[in-house]
């Protein structure tokens, strides 16, 4: 907790003094149950995002909440992080911005966010535990979850049958199945790992129950070499050693052909990708099935998920209103119904506990065969995202470091274990050089 330089006090002080000023002209009372903002009167907040559909939803909010007007600004995608840093330093930052989990952690560590732990506590119950973790990297809360993307597996049912294999329950199963396929046709792979994208290792580690970063009182414990982390690394190593995975790059527009033509027959996928598959798999339409992501321990099944968040930036004068709006956006039933509809093009999947009302619409109509248990698979994935995973203060930097070495792992120039050992050292040193206390876990 203390690893974060808390900046909350100034913000709440500002909010308090403002409420005195504006107490006379207080607007309509908050309608959300439990949401009782301490700021009174009419305020305007700026909100940066780059997801389609959010702007329309913001208009709905503005109509119903005249006392909290939100000015939506469509920022140009992920490079916004650099700009946001500049804006906070220059004092021109918006109150709220969309952010992914790892950037939220970096921003929080650099003191660029507002600690909203107290005012946000009332919304905590609406979201899943791992989603709340994503906005509370060191214990203190700096934002509200926006959406999740729990992972599951999609596989070519027709080709699985042809090669005599079944949807793998564990990663050991997947490797065994991959070997069986290879014996029959050495050009067909069971999985894909792009040379530029180490997210497979992140997902596997998350699923295995590893904790690369763990907040321990006044310091971070960094553990890339725990038994769980090494088990995840070992799966990647076996996929690489036995040539069981193709290496199609996600930057290549032709990447979908790899699966469409049956050269790779299974993949990890998630909610946001589903709506686009109907158009991207013209040849293999109707031959796919969904299955739970393979697990490490069938008694403790876990999957991984990315989380989008709405972060409250430093200098935001009305963090209570900001949190109220962000929570409405991503937990109000009506708002979620609109946003999660593929017609909104948001690609958003909720981070709330009960996702069942939002599942059916995102399942593409043509992609799956009639036997696919698509809806239950998606619901299961949403409910079993491992809640032990944390984004540490230098996670984003560590990720780019890992990206550099991942390519070598795929080319068999470096073992996963050596990479993990190296990352362990790199991360601890990097944190210590930034005066953040960190120790190696094992």
């Amino acid at each position: 907790m203390t690893t974060y330089r808390a900046r909350a006090l100034t913000a709440s002080a500002a909010a308090a003094s403002l409420s005195l000023l504006l107490a006379a002209c207080s607007g309509g009372a908050g309608t959300e149950a439990g949401a009782r903002p301490s700021t009174e009167g009419k305020v305007t907040l700026e909100f940066w995002s780059w997801t389609d559909g959010i702007e329309a939803q913001t208009k709905v909010w503005n109509q119903r909440h005249p006392e909290t007007q939100v000015r939506f600004v469509n920022a140009a995608g992920e490079t916004v992080y650099q700009k946001l840093r500049a804006a906070v330093n220059a004092g021109t930052a918006p109150c709220l911005s969309k952010m992914d989990g790892m950037n939220l952690a970096s921003f929080a560590a650099d003191g660029l966010l507002t600690d909203i732990t107290r005012t946000a506590a009332q919304y905590k119950e609406r979201y899943t535990a791992p989603a709340w973790n994503a906005v509370s990297p060191g214990g203190a809360t700096f934002g509200i979850p926006m959406g999740s993307s729990p992972q599951f597996t999609a596989y070519r049912a027709d080709l699985f049958k042809k090669y005599g294999i079944e949807a793998p329950k564990t990663w050991d199963d997947l490797i065994a199945a991959g070997r069986k396929v290879r014996q029959q046709d050495k050009n067909v792979k069971i999985f894909n790992m792009a040379g530029e994208d180490p997210s497979t290792l992140v997902d596997l580690s998350w699923q295995a129950g590893a904790q690369w970063y763990k907040a321990d009182g006044d310091h971070w414990t960094i553990d890339f070499t725990s038994p769980e982390a090494l088990a995840a690394g070992d799966v990647v190593q076996r996929l690489v050693d036995d040539d069981l995975a193709s290496n199609a790059s996600y930057a290549d527009p032709g990447v979908f052909k790899t699966w469409d033509l049956g050269r790779t027959i299974a993949m990890t996928t998630s909610t946001w990708q589903l709506p686009i598959y109907d158009t991207n798999f013209p040849k293999s339409k109707g031959k796919w099935q969904l299955a739970d992501s393979p697990v490490f321990d069938t008694t403790r099944p876990r999957t991984a998920s990315n989380f989008d968040t709405t972060a409250v930036l430093k200098g935001c004068k009305y963090p209570d209103r900001a949190a109220q709006f962000a929570a409405w956006l991503s937990s109000d039933k009506e708002s979620l119904t609109t946003l999660t509809d593929p017609a909104s093009k948001s690609g958003l999947f909720p981070a709330v506990d009960d996702v069942s009302p939002y599942v059916d619409k995102i399942i593409p109509t043509d992609m799956f065969n009639k036997e696919s248990d698509s809806a239950p698979v998606i619901k299961t994935a949403a409910s079993r995202v491992g809640d032990q995973w944390r984004y540490g203060p230098n996670y984003a930097a560590m990720y780019s470091e890992m990206q550099k070495q991942w390519g070598k792992v795929i080319k068999k120039e470096l073992t996963v274990k050596d990479m993990l050992t190296g990352l362990q050292k790199w991360t601890v040193n990097d944190l210590n050089s930034k005066d953040i206390k960190a120790v190696a876990g094992s």
Binding site: W48, W50, T51, D52, V73, N74, A75, A76, G77, E78, T79, Q82, K83, A86, A87, N89, A90, G91, T92, P253, G254, V255, F256, K257, D260, W272, P275, I276, T279, N280, P282, K283, K345, S346, G347, L348
Partner: protein, 313 residues
Amino acid sequence: MTGDVMNRAVKAGRARVPGRTPKAPRAGEASRGGVRPTRRAVALTTGLLVVFLVYSLAPTWFLLVSATKNQTDLYSTFGLLFSANHLGDNLQQIASYHDGVFLRWIGNSVLYSTLGAAGSTLISLAAGYGLAKYDYRGRGALFALVVGASLLPSTLLAFPLYLVFAEMGLTNTIWSVLIPYFINPFGVYLGKVYADSSVPTELMEAARIDGAGELRIFFAVALRLMRTGGVTIFMLDFINIWNNFFLPLFMLNGERSFPVTLGLFSWLQQAQTARDMNTLVLTGSLLSIIPLAVLMFTLQKYWRSGILMGSLK
């Protein structure tokens, strides 16, 4: 009266820059009648030029082909060959996306590029003229400073500029991009080169004797003589601004103020996170190079001679 001064001055200028017109044909003769290139040299040159041509045209070809495909074909058919034509659909999607925001981006790009390049050209020519034609203490040092400044990548300056403009409360206004565009050290350098080569000092003296002030000499005489150079600077600036990305990324908030580069980038980002918009990105990219192509072709005769002029001196 004024026209008279001008005409005389210009005539005098023509008369007093001998060698320019005769020199060109002589150079041509030399290469035609002098050493005959060997067959191998010709083959090698032609071969290299063909390679270069393919290298420059291949991406454009890919863009042209991709702009006619729908999303399914984009991923499933060969990238350099046409399949079913969906250009109409793509154009329609572009036109309707967010109430035609793409057209607004093109409009913004035209606005920023035209105003930015015009301002920068005027400033560059004036500054270059001043450096070339007036003798004062520190001129050499100033010129060295300008040349040095032109080596600084503009990307590097985007962040400090943002802080400065935020301090002045000018971020997210058109001035936050225009003012930095106005200042272009490389343009000043070119301006000096052009002023050196095309504005004879004798002519300025003649104008002074005729009673023209320094400002008048610059606007009525020097600017006209430097027109070719001016067009070159304008072109280079226009293209630079059209393609600029980092400055508007930092300075401008909200998609309605984006230039087309930033707009296309925001589509690409969508494509990677939520919604596949690659067909729109590709068709949009093709559309975004059309204004540049038009500009290049219409101003061709100016910039050709402009670029040559610099190289001859």
